[in-house]
């Protein structure tokens, strides 16, 4: 495979050089936070740490951890380190759980962000000859603009269609000869199903999909690849730390390469907050090393992953994080068992006769938690064979039990009755507090 680099020199730096650069930029970031943002000065003073205490990379653990609560407390602009006249763009999280988190960018910030995105895009094998359709919703959401800037930096022709109107999405894809699709994995699955149903999969020139903003399990990826014959890569980031751009997969798809000269990532134990050794799974904590307008350190992402520093077969020397295995707040605790939707998804994607969409319903029955997994039956031949329907239900239930250690109810529902999502999928319905036994 002919590996494509956007900035080969930076992407193949020696470990020692990466770390030296990280330390220099970490000092710059911590200084900026302390000098320009009163809130940061206050919490650092309270923790008894001064910027001068950062002498080596591991000194980062002296800094306090930040979370969404800190963002909320300083809504909307109190964490900005640049005056309004230097800020050229604002983004914000959806704010589904309260006030949104607002991020700001200076001209330099946008350049750095574009650079990070361009590297991730090039690592997926995308070049200036590609035509890229962005089916992320444009607006305050960072995803669409991040990819937009990165694709333009690579030199692609960008089709900024935004999300929704799926028939038009497919029409433009076919008429323009679109080769790269940007979407959430769940919308990607939906579009790929629709293309298959309409019989136009073979007319599409799509070859690469960059899917992000929610967890994309390998099984979901395989499903999309099978439906429309493309290579799908995953990338990672979140609004609080600048949007997508933290890391992305190369064509080896053996972990997401972290743009280490722009982000310093740690893995901590989410309960004790202690740093974990390489290879252990824990919460990802990110310190962006490039931000002028909205600097931040040690942000707790609530995403669970593992980091390895082994060089990749692609030639990049950067650390790699695994795909996000779940979120600490997506985690359902059912009868005392920790369950992640991604575990359930992995089981469902290996089963025949059922579709890729699912819904998880939590209830309380006689003071006990129950989990119902609804999934669409798509193979009509089973309608003639009750026993096979029964066997399929039992098979899914058995596999879930062995993976989750939990007995759940499996319900097969007619096709297209489970809600589709154009943005992030909301697959969990928790009725435990509404229905009393």
């Amino acid at each position: 495979m002919n590996e494509i680099f956007f900035d080969k020199e930076k992407e193949t730096m020696k470990r020692r050089d990466i770390e030296a650069l990280q330390l220099e930029r970490l000092k710059w970031t911590v200084n900026r936070c302390y000098d320009k943002v009163p809130y940061y000065k206050e919490i650092m003073d309270k923790a008894g740490v001064k910027p001068s205490h950062i002498q080596k990379l591991s000194d980062i653990s002296l800094l306090p951890l930040l979370s969404k609560a800190d963002m909320r407390e300083n809504y909307p602009f109190k964490l900005f380190a640049s005056p309004t006249e230097e800020i050229v763009e604002i983004h914000a999280s959806s704010g589904t759980t309260g006030k949104p988190v607002v991020g700001a960018y200076t001209r330099n910030d946008l350049d750095a962000w574009s650079e990070c995105m361009a590297r991730i895009i090039a690592a997926s094998g995308v070049t200036r000859e590609d035509i890229a359709q962005i089916s992320f919703g444009y607006g305050l959401f960072t995803g669409a603009f991040g990819l937009h800037y990165g694709l333009q930096k690579v030199g692609c022709m960008v089709v900024p269609i935004s999300s929704g109107n799926s028939a038009k999405q497919l029409m433009l894809m076919e008429d323009f000869g679109v080769t790269v699709l940007i979407a959430t994995p769940s919308y990607g699955v939906y579009l790929s199903e629709l293309a298959k149903d309409k019989g136009i999969s073979d007319h599409l020139k799509l070859r690469v999909g960059l899917f992000g903003s929610e967890v994309c399990t390998p099984e979901m990826r395989d499903q999309i690849e099978e439906n429309i014959g493309i290579i799908v890569t995953d990338n990672y980031g979140l609004t609080e730390i600048g949007g997508p751009g933290v890391s992305g997969e190369c064509l080896e798809r053996d972990g997401l390469h972290i743009n280490e000269d722009y982000y310093l990532c740690e893995i901590i134990d989410p309960d004790t907050c202690e740093p974990l050794p390489e290879g252990e799974t824990g919460e990802v904590v990110v310190t962006p090393l490039w931000k002028e307008a909205f600097p931040i350190f040690r942000y707790r992402t609530k995403d669970l992953a593992t980091i390895t520093y082994e060089p990749c077969r692609c030639g990049r020397t950067s650390a790699r994080m695994t795909k996000v295995m779940g979120r600490t707040d997506d985690m359902m605790i059912i009868k005392g068992v920790n369950v992640f939707p991604s575990q359930i998804e992995s089981v469902l994607f290996t089963k025949p006769h059922i579709g890729p969409h699912y819904q998880l319903i939590l209830r309380k029955k006689n003071f006990m938690d129950t989990l119902e997994v609804q999934v669409e039956l798509i193979d009509s031949s089973l309608l003639e064979r009750y026993r096979e329907l029964d066997a399929l239900q039992n098979d899914i239930r058995g596999s879930l039990k062995s993976v989750l250690g939990l007995d759940c109810k499996v319900t097969l529902v007619p096709p297209r009755t489970i809600q589709r999502f154009e943005g992030k999928a909301k697959r969990i319905i928790d009725k435990r507090n509404e229905e009393q036994a």
């Binding site: 798509i378 009509s380 089973l382 309608l383 003639e384 319900t411 529902v413 096709p415």
Partner: protein, 143 residues
Amino acid sequence: MTINQISVLVENRAGAVAEIISVLAEKKINIYAVNMADTPNFGILRFIVSQPDDAKALLEREGFLVSSCKVLAVGLKDLPGGLTKVTKVLTKNGISLEYMYAFISNSENNACVILNTADIEFTEQLLTDAGIPVYGYEIFEKK
């Protein structure tokens, strides 16, 4: 002689059956026989209709999960023990019934059932050999 039956997966909610039936009514497709089996999660509606291929295509276009298969329309005496004549033949040959439902017909035998087994052709052969009438679509036609 076999008959084409169509089966449709029905959602477990009020109005689901009505939606399916109105699709057929709109296109003037006549339902000769109907049966609904339910499981805790959903139902399966089975029909014998005047235009099975059209009905299947129509329902699929509306997004329903539909399958079609061959079943037997078998004539019985409308007397106690009428059905045992059929089940005896099946039992003797080790054939188990998948499902069965009755319908009204114009046959001189007075009663009729639709039945399905794992081996429909073999079943038809056995019933015919035993002198039990197996009908085609003519059984549904009004005299």
